[in-house]
Structures are given as structure tokens and as C-alpha cells.
């Protein structure tokens, strides 16, 4: 393996985690597998590895800050060692999947490390130092980028045997446990949101949204439309109350006749 290949692949690993946060151009195992294949001089294996992994995460996304199996990193490692060892796609997937599952933890770590910059931003804002605050926002690029670039770089250096050995050492209770943690972590975001929103005032609507989703299995788009309908009713009511309070019934009456006027169009 050439040094420039390692360099390019490390750069790819750095970018591929920044990409979904910004431009969203190669935000998927398929593209990453293909590019890794190109770098390794075997497009076909890259495509095969990327495609197989792609099918495992179809439509799965990182919503609400949840982490998902990092099969982009898996695609790089899998493709590289499939080309190097010549053991084919099957072998690559066997390597890529555990790597991907393991890398979720580094995603969590990156999202977590950024809290440091958040706190610095908060502080600089209080001190009225906007420039420093702005700079610290951009620093977020490092936890993200390094969370993938570093492990990929190391995994390429040490060779596939070592990678496998490490993977074997990690106990399943930990990986399962981390998976469960990943599943419930969005709870924090939601709870913060509920503290932040005027939840008490609109508690009924929280409940209605919950019921629609939990009991009636209405998908998110449907809930949003339903919410829009209720919001519009609320809005009309508010305007009407305001009218009453302001100008008494007069204004209301006019509005009424306006409404009726529509029939005559």
C-alpha cells in the first residue's frame, strides 16, 4: 500500500464526516466505497463493498441527533483490505460491519466533545467577544473530522489482522450496551426541548402529537400536517379574541360579511 493511498483515504475519512454536515454530496457508503475502490485501483470491489453496505442502511438516517452504524468508515476499511488480501467482497463485509458498528461510538464521542466548544462559545458571547465565539464554532470541524480520520489512519497502518484482533477483544455486552445507549440518547435532546418550549401552555398538543404517532402510527409528515391544521385553528381563534378585546363586536361583524362575500365569486 502506497503512502499516498493512505493519505488520500485518511483525507477521505476526514471529509466524509464533514460532508453530511455541510454539502451532502457523498454522504453514503456507496459513494465512499466507490472512491476507495478508485484510490486502491479496483473500482469493482469498491462498488461491490459500498453497494452491499448501502443496502443495509437504506433510508436509515441520523435523525434528532441519533447515531447510526458508520458504514462509510466500514466501506473504506472493507474495500482496502479486500483489495490488499484479494479475499473478495464477502471478507470485506465481514470486516466492514463490525468496524461500522464500533465507529458509532466515535460518532457519539464527536457529538459529545463539541460540548466543549459550545461552552466556550457561551462564555465568549457573555463577554461580548463575538469573533472568538465565531471561531470556536468552526473548531467543531476537528472533533468531527478526526473522529473518523484518526481511526482510519491507524487501521490502515496496523493491518487487518490487528483490526480483527481488536474487534474480537471488545465484549458484546459493551457493543450491545452502546447500541442501546445510542437508541435512548435522543431522549436528552427531546427533554431539553420540552424544558425550552412553553410545554405547559401547549401540553395538549404534545399529547395529541404523541397519541397520533404512538397509537395511530401516523408518520411524521402526517403529524406535521395535523399540527398545521390545529395551529391554523388556534391562530384564527387568537385573532378573533384579539378583535373582540380591541374593538368589540363591530369589527367582527364586518369580517363576517367579508367572509360571506366569497360565496358570490
Amino acid at each position: 500500500m502506497q503512502w499516498w493511498q493512505i493519505l488520500l483515504l485518511t483525507a477521505l475519512a476526514f471529509w466524509m464526516v464533514i460532508d453530511p454536515l455541510t454539502l451532502v454530496l457523498i454522504n453514503n457508503p456507496l459513494a465512499i466505497g466507490m472512491i476507495s475502490g478508485l484510490i486502491m485501483g479496483n473500482l469493482k470491489i469498491g462498488l461491490a463493498v459500498g453497494s452491499t453496505l448501502q443496502l443495509m442502511v437504506l433510508g436509515v438516517g441520523t435523525y434528532g441527533g441519533a447515531s447510526m452504524p458508520d458504514f462509510m468508515t466500514g466501506a473504506i476499511i472493507g474495500t482496502v483490505y479486500a483489495v490488499l488480501t484479494g479475499k473478495g467482497t464477502q471478507f470485506a463485509i465481514g470486516l466492514a460491519v463490525p468496524v461500522g458498528l464500533l465507529m458509532v461510538q466515535l460518532d457519539v464521542l464527536a457529538r459529545f466533545t463539541n460540548t466543549i466548544f459550545q461552552h466556550r462559545v457561551d462564555r465568549f458571547i457573555s463577554n461580548n467577544e463575538p469573533k472568538k465565539a465565531a471561531r470556536n464554532v468552526l473548531y467543531g470541524v476537528f472533533p468531527w473530522g478526526l473522529s473518523r480520520a484518526l481511526p482510519v489512519f491507524i487501521m490502515l497502518l496496523v493491518g487487518n489482522h490487528v483490526v480483527k484482533a481488536i474487534l474480537a477483544v471488545i465484549p458484546t455486552w459493551l457493543t450491545t450496551g452502546l447500541k442501546v445507549s445510542g437508541g435512548i440518547l435522543p431522549v436528552v435532546g427531546i427533554a431539553i426541548l420540552l424544558r425550552y418550549l412553553p410545554t405547559k401552555k401547549f401540553f395538549s398538543y404534545l399529547l395529541i402529537g404523541f397519541l397520533a404517532s404512538a397509537y395511530l402510527k401516523v408518520p411524521m409528515m402526517g403529524v406535521a400536517l395535523m399540527g398545521a391544521a390545529m395551529a391554523f385553528i388556534y391562530y384564527k381563534n387568537e385573532l378573533k379574541s384579539a378583535n373582540y378585546a380591541l374593538a368589540g363586536q363591530q369589527q367582527e361583524k364586518e369580517e363576517y360579511e367579508n367572509d360571506k362575500g366569497e360565496y358570490e365569486n
Partner: protein, 272 residues
Amino acid sequence: MTKANMKTNENGLTKKDLFRANWRWLWSSQLAWNYEKMMATGYFYTVLPFLKRWYHDDELVDMMKMQDQFFNTNAFVGGFIIGMDLAIEEKKGSAAKNTVAGIKTGLMGPLAGVGDTIFGVIISTIFGSIGAYMGLKGNPVGAFLWILVDLIVLFARFSFLPMGYYQGAKLIDSAQGKLNAVTDAAILLGVTVVGALIPTVITAKVPFVFRSGKVTLKAQSMLDQIMPSLVPVLLVLFVYWLLGKKKMTSTKIILLVMILGIVLSYFHILGA
């Protein structure tokens, strides 16, 4: 509220201003994403140039703080909210602080839901499956097609922020009562969507199964009989309550939830 901050910012935003805001949003929205305030810094970074233009001294600090509050939405369509915000602040200045805070919190949830569905699930399902199946046959056309579509989407993203700006401007020209009503309505919509997020986003099943002879009792289906998504609801209540405790920081809570997940999974009480 002093009379000073009631002044409107006369100098209207140019198309270039809006483009620049969109550009900043594109790059910064999730760069310092974190479990505590999520996209707050990205939002702050995006509107900072305008804040600096419009406010000074204490007023500036005040508005920066407000714009650095918890924020999370789908980055693709989130520009819409920034557009509305800019239109409102441009006219009303810091007097509209609460309105802006309300609209931000209200609209972020619905836009996340809709944006995630369309730009997250749909597009990647369609082009992911096309690309993958072509890829399996060694044909890279599908993969390139997806990148092409992504480029088109990238281009399209630049329209949401101006769209929000013009909607916001229209809103501003109407009476104050209307603006308040719109803010409240937006929050209502937001809260509804958050309600639906609980069973959708949090995955927590109780895998425990009681077995004795022919009988198998699944804990999860017992819980479902009381209420579907009971565990996610209880978790939300628990963390909500924790957040109210003194000395509790969200960082501590995140760590606690992670450990909780591992421990409960170890004892087979929770599963993903």
C-alpha cells in the same frame, strides 16, 4: 423595554445578504453540533454578521445569547427559519426577541420532521437502492446519478432562506397581534411534532421474556397494553425531571443516560 431597541433597522437586506447567510448556514449548521444545544452555535454563527450590524453593546450580547439557545432542525430546510428571523429582526430589532425565539422553537420541529423525511429517507432510499443494485453489477452510473441529484439538492437549498425571508417580511407588515398569533401557532405546531418524536425517535424495547413450559410472557407486549411507547415516555419524564435539578448539567445527563443504557442492556432490561 427601552424605546431605543424599538427602532427598526431601516437598511433592508440585499439578495447578497441572504445568499451569504445561506452560505454560512450551509457550512456551520452542524459543525459544532453537540448534545447540549445541538445546532445552536450554527444558528448563532449564521446570523452573527447581522447581529453585529444591527445591535451594539448590551443589546448585542442579549441578542447573541438568544440566538445561541437550543436549536435543532433539518439542515436542508432550516434556512427558512433564519430567513423569517432576519426579516423580523430587520424591521423590529431586538423588540422582537421573544417573537424570534418563539418562531425558532416552534418551526424547528416540524421542519425537522418534514425535511428528514424528504431529504433523508426518501432521496436516499430511491437513489440508494438504484445505485446499490447497479453497483453490485459493477456499474458506477447509479452512484454518480446520486451525486448529481445531491448537487441539484444543494442548489435548491439556496431557495429556502429567501423564501422564509419574504414570508417573514409579509408577516411583519401585518398587525402586532397577528405576529403574536403566528408565533404561538408556530409553537403549537412545534410542540405537536415533538410529541410525535417521542415514539418515533427513541428506540427502547424491554426484551425480557418470561418462559415457563408452554407459556411465554413478553414484557414488551404487557407494557404495550398499558400504553404504546411507555418506556420512551418514562425516559423523557425522567430526564425532564433531572434537568430541573440544581447542579445538573446536560453533560452529566448525557453521560448518565449512556451509562444507564449500557447497564440496563447488560441486565437485559432494555434492548434496541
